[in-house]
Point group: D2
Chain length 200, copies 4
Amino acid sequence: MATKLAIIYYSATGTIDAMARRLAATAEAEGAEVRLRHVSEIAPREAIESNDAWKAHVDAVAGEPEATADDIVWADAVLFGTPTRFGNVASQLKQFLDTLSGPWSQGQLADKAYAGFTSSQTAHGGQETTLLALYNSVHHFGGVIVSPGYTDGLKFVDGNPYGVSHVTGATNDAPLGDAENNALDHLVRRVLRIGAVLAG
Amino acid sequence: MATKLAIIYYSATGTIDAMARRLAATAEAEGAEVRLRHVSEIAPREAIESNDAWKAHVDAVAGEPEATADDIVWADAVLFGTPTRFGNVASQLKQFLDTLSGPWSQGQLADKAYAGFTSSQTAHGGQETTLLALYNSVHHFGGVIVSPGYTDGLKFVDGNPYGVSHVTGATNDAPLGDAENNALDHLVRRVLRIGAVLAG
Amino acid sequence: MATKLAIIYYSATGTIDAMARRLAATAEAEGAEVRLRHVSEIAPREAIESNDAWKAHVDAVAGEPEATADDIVWADAVLFGTPTRFGNVASQLKQFLDTLSGPWSQGQLADKAYAGFTSSQTAHGGQETTLLALYNSVHHFGGVIVSPGYTDGLKFVDGNPYGVSHVTGATNDAPLGDAENNALDHLVRRVLRIGAVLAG
Amino acid sequence: MATKLAIIYYSATGTIDAMARRLAATAEAEGAEVRLRHVSEIAPREAIESNDAWKAHVDAVAGEPEATADDIVWADAVLFGTPTRFGNVASQLKQFLDTLSGPWSQGQLADKAYAGFTSSQTAHGGQETTLLALYNSVHHFGGVIVSPGYTDGLKFVDGNPYGVSHVTGATNDAPLGDAENNALDHLVRRVLRIGAVLAG
């Protein structure tokens, strides 16, 4: 039976969305069943309108399904993606997490494989801390945290043992390079493998 | 000139609100000028309606002013309050923090005294981690973090060096006791003192 | 084949030692093969001599084997125990972790089930933060972090989703109670179960 | 009166030592009184001997004074430096911190300005997490945490709001560049300024 992967993410201007789609494509090539789901946007419309890249991204995903609690309950493995916002998870993703108390109280979030991915403009402005703040919640879920560590030589290239991260630069638009794409592929194969084992 | 204190908080069922009001009363008794401001509620109305204590609290503060970025820009000292939500800041407070990029980019959040307070139902379910996740953002602001440590004998009673926290218990309604009230008084006096010194 | 569990711990005055022995006894009752190993003491002799409980404990474990890197390489599941020292792992345990770069560089620490246990005198003086600082290193190992969350009703009693912790009180000698013992039993059964699954 | 700065650091192969000396030189140029103090080496002699750069550094600082608790008690501002070791403070620095319970219990570590600096080989292998794990202890001290944030345009160049960090690269010998040196200068001026204000 195919391993079930939920990729739950928030993206404002498209970087996290690009990372999520890379993860989804690799997972599908590996034979996994994938739910790629963005979370609801809660920012004020005027904030979105003031940023062309943000507005374009909101319009681009408008027709796609939004994440629900059931996507996690269903999954064997879960990848959460969020840009950093002041060294922590974006409020949009946090808002989604905060709605999970129902399935949490029934143990439906536990014993799955979880990991995360993130991005920031500056080199050390949340690339590590955002992932650890995210994992605080996974601890509460009773999730099994499957961070990549340095479990492959390619992890010494992207260099993030806590998950996968991308530095978008001063103009916030640096595209993903080989280092990040390879690290994303490694991450998703790893959580699929361990998610499958945990699912029995 | 009076020291200016902003207390910015999110409260669902009233515990954090009670802590915030204690802080405000003590600060005013110390001669500070205080802005007590709750952040906007972003939870769906049906979630709120399903919980009597939550609904009652939303109604109770409906007429009070909501926090704005200017409240931080104005202040010499800032106290943030939030219940834990899965070991991290509630999305309502995070949503407010995420709107601060304008004043942040102009340096208007820096060089003030900051600390936090929180609550959780279980004894070790976010009493420490929520405060540290909150402080991630204060690091980004260039804020000066004035956690209480064990700078008074009473801190060995409430026992939280990272801020002040309260355990609300299985029914989520344990009232504040002397330990917490004393720790709140100590916290606010400490941030006022250091906030005043930083403000020159 | 029996699941292999390494319990690697530092204890000064005996609390962590008592927690470690409880974990070992429960694991053996579950049919696991257990290595119970304390790490080397690196504190100056005069510091140890100045504290009767510390000296007594050093003497008590003097004849027992000390932890080596091979104990982790050998294991399917690993439990690390340490008292908090200023909100972080005791230097004695950290010194042991810092010697693991050889097996780490060969991937020999990865893909095992890891969790932690701790104690502090005050209620919120490192019960959560010490475990998260410990897990920073497990992320680097490529370990699989199996924190307990609230995966059983008894976790709402001890109340620590990040691991198991004990508050030793002002005189640092409060004995383990049912809440902690039950939580320790739950923790070790959980890491054994997931460690066995990961080991194939 | 000159502001008193203690720079307490551990360095194995010299990177953190170079950062510490840059901080000291800038502080002295600013008129501060500086104590530059490395902590005791506790690694086994054979580990040190097996690494030429490590051995050379141990020999180079052999005649210099080692850090004592009094250096912190004396200071108005304190900068701690450590390489990352698996996402956390090196055991050598942690061992020093663990000896501070005497002055801590008398409140002698509180109300000073503290910040940190670190290095790692990989880009995101502890550049943020090591500093936050270090600050756990500063919270316990009742120290005032003066991280740099983005309080100057140059912080968008080195990119670390939690302190200053350097990526040493695959061969662990990348020298400090302008980005790091500028960030170190900014950090030390900032802690001196706030340390002086706190000292009255």
